[in-house]
């Protein structure tokens, strides 16, 4: 009965996590653990709202969000690759810095705090024609698909191909695996890492745009609500492989979605919220222990 609706909302809740995780996993394949996804999502959401209102175009808004976050990502990458900053601390610092800058802009430019409403924000449209809704079970989910969700899933399914079959994909994997080898064969490993972080920024920006424009049409300081870290958990859980990571995102989106049911069944909301992290921890332990067993044999 409600399967359709669960499907719809799981899909929508998954999209921002998925977009951020796509960026994060590519970044990590190139050897950078991106703790700053949260910051880039937030700035993406902000830019998306401003631009959507100004241009009346969801497309330009998403593009602007993605590009601005890509630039932030690229600059962030420079501190890591060129100035040898520790990526974890720099990422945490970026999260604080971006939140501070956005708060500042909100209060000084827009004379508001926390929430920014702009007139005539254009939301993401439903893409597929209405008759899709008639398809049983998955119909409603299909008909509520927005362009970013479609883009995210297309990317997920293209990504394995891109990573295995294109030059840049090979370079990224080689850089993450053995940067000295990449350099030895004449590739610019640092530039490849920078590009991957910019890519992560691009997708985190889209994730932010989705949060802001999927249904709300406004910016809020708490909009990302730790989804950057959930994305991190997802690509750790999926071990940087696109399909597996996407499945982890779906699982986390589903968990988020079923909170209400679990809450009525007596689970405290706080403890439900920690499941992704617990799962990553357990997965990490499991794989490490298994790897060691294997090595000992």
């Amino acid at each position: 009965m409600q399967v359709e609706q669960i499907l719809v909302s799981t899909l929508i809740l998954t999209t921002p996590i998925l977009l951020a995780a796509i960026g994060g996993l590519v970044n990590r394949q190139a050897g950078i653990v991106n703790i700053g996804l949260e910051a880039k999502m937030l700035s993406g959401a902000f830019v998306a709202v401003i631009v959507s209102s100004a241009t009346q175009s969801w497309f330009i808004a998403c593009l602007a969000a993605a590009l601005s976050s890509a630039v932030i990502g690229w600059m962030f990458s420079l501190t890591i690759t060129r100035a040898h900053a520790n990526m974890i601390v720099a990422g945490l610092g970026l999260n604080i810095l971006v939140a501070g800058v956005l708060g500042f802009i909100l209060s000084w430019v827009y004379k508001t705090s926390g929430t920014l409403r702009q007139p005539d924000v254009v939301l993401l449209p439903d893409v597929l024609p209405e008759f899709f809704e008639k398809i049983p079970v998955i119909g409603p989910a299909l008909s509520s698909l927005d362009p970013l969700t479609i883009f995210a899933w297309i990317t997920v399914f293209c990504l394995p191909f891109v990573l295995t079959n294109t030059r840049i994909g090979l370079w990224i994997r080689a850089t993450g695996n053995a940067p000295h080898v990449t350099r030895a064969v004449g590739l610019r490993s640092l530039a490849i890492q920078d590009a991957s972080t910019a890519f992560a920024g691009f997708f985190a920006g889209l994730a932010g745009a989705h949060l802001a424009l999927a249904s709300l049409g406004l910016f809020n300081e708490g909009l990302t609500a730790g989804r950057g870290f959930i994305a991190l958990a997802a690509f750790y859980f999926g071990r940087d492989r696109p399909i597996q990571t996407a499945m982890a995102c779906l699982l986390f989106g589903f968990l988020d979605n079923t909170q209400i049911r679990l809450q009525t069944a007596g689970f405290p909301p706080k403890l439900i919220g920690m499941t992704p992290y617990l799962m990553v921890l357990l997965a990490l332990i499991f794989t490490s222990v298994r790897a060691q067993r294997k090595a000992r044999l």
């Binding site: 079959n165 294109t166 030059r167 840049i168 090979l170 370079w171 053995a178 004449g186």
Partner: protein, 549 residues
Amino acid sequence: MFPAKDTPTSLSNNNQERVVFPRAPDFSHAREAIVLSTDRSVALGAVDLHKSYGATKANRGISLSVMRGEIHAIVGENGAGKSTLMRMLQGVERPDSGHVVIADKPVVLNGPAEALALSIGMVHQEFMLAPDLTLLENLVLGEEPVTRQLGPLSRIDWAKALREGQGLAESIGAQIDWQRRTSSVPVHILQFVEIIRLLRRGCNVLILDEPTAVLAPPQVEELFDLLRNLRANGTTILFISHKIGEVMALADQVTVIRQGKTVFHSTIAETTGPEIASHIVRDAPPLETSPPPSRTVTGEPVLELDGLSARSLEKSQSLDNISLQVRAGEILGIAGVSGNGQGELAECIAGLRDTSAGNIILQGADITGETTLARRNRGLAYVSADRRHEGLTTAASIETNVIAGSHRAPPITRGGILSRKNLRQEASKRLAALKVVFGKVTDPADSLSGGNQQKLVFARESADNPKLMIASQPTRGVDLNGIAAIHGLLRDFRDQGGAVLLASEELDELIALSDRVVVIFEGRLVGEVTSPAGAMAQIGQMMVQGDAA
């Protein structure tokens, strides 16, 4: 850096325009120095190369000509200047004077990419392969065949890549499963992949730096077959080795380097193993001669190994049923070609590597399962072969380095408190006792010369009156004065009743110091020589062939 995809032709033109010689180049003598045979051209050569690092003169006049289509071996001891020569041939470093010759022309190289563009490729001992990628991916990395040119987004033409790989592998007679993950592939196959990668990039001159060091004998055979096939296909090979047997089996030409100079050159047909050997070690630094050959050791056994075995991990050699004894007042030498298990054996005794069978007995006590710390407390000292990464912490201060390991014992630590004053005193005492030359005790160990670094290691390891010293390659990378000092230290230690297990690739050193020598081959002990003096040939035979026949 040059884009790797440029063609060699355009690059060499390009290159000639950019050639800048530090000094006015004088190539007038180049032809005569190089050309030994006029009917064939020089693929790769060197004219009177000099290179110094500070006070160390690594190369002091090296000339070399590798003829096209030949396998040319360069032999020499460790520290003779081979690796410096390689770096200059490959463009990693520039000679102070002299020049490199490629395809009959003197060139100035500004990096390995330029050498590569001139068809010179090098296979290092550390393979440049990403472990998580497949062999095929490693093969094409950096120069991928694409279906359509779309810049970095171009789709890689895997079918073409595979055809290329298979074609090249076939042409040299190698069997390679290109889809396997690199980390799961045996080491000699990786070497083949490295070679094929260079061929694919258009290299017709290959430099192989001690390629057999990491290989097991059957693998060595496979490699040699492959190299012969390469030669048949017209590839020129420069082969660096210190194993005479291999050189005799494989090479067409041989050049011997000693103390930074070329001292001998011949075609293999016109020389013999012993002759080459004599050039490698002739005029060796005046080391003290070994004790009288009749010296008999009567001390109690300090170390006994009983059927010790260890599994192979990653690239390491396994050990198989090793039994030996080292008595008080005795130096037992372990001879063996690098990679045959000396290092692993030393690590097992020091407690740094797990054993799978057998016992280690130190002064009558079985220490097989004990920690490194417990072993050290029983009087074990260990001089690591890898001084810069295991023997020392180069970033830490000299005093830290010379005290580490004794930091829990009085007088440094009493009642759980570590006394900096006593630490410094003790450090100064130890450093003075071994005449280590240093600036301040708080300077990093990195500031010391190689010889002094090693003396520091001995200062630490000999401080707590050990009963057994395991010295693994103790003079590697140490200058001549340092070598003499370290030999003196080992002798003194022995003369005071200590037991020494000495692993060295320097046969001279083993013979000069050891009371007895055992030979290790593929992780097994294959022979023992009780009076090493004059037994060099016998030991060498066993090292190379695994038996004394």
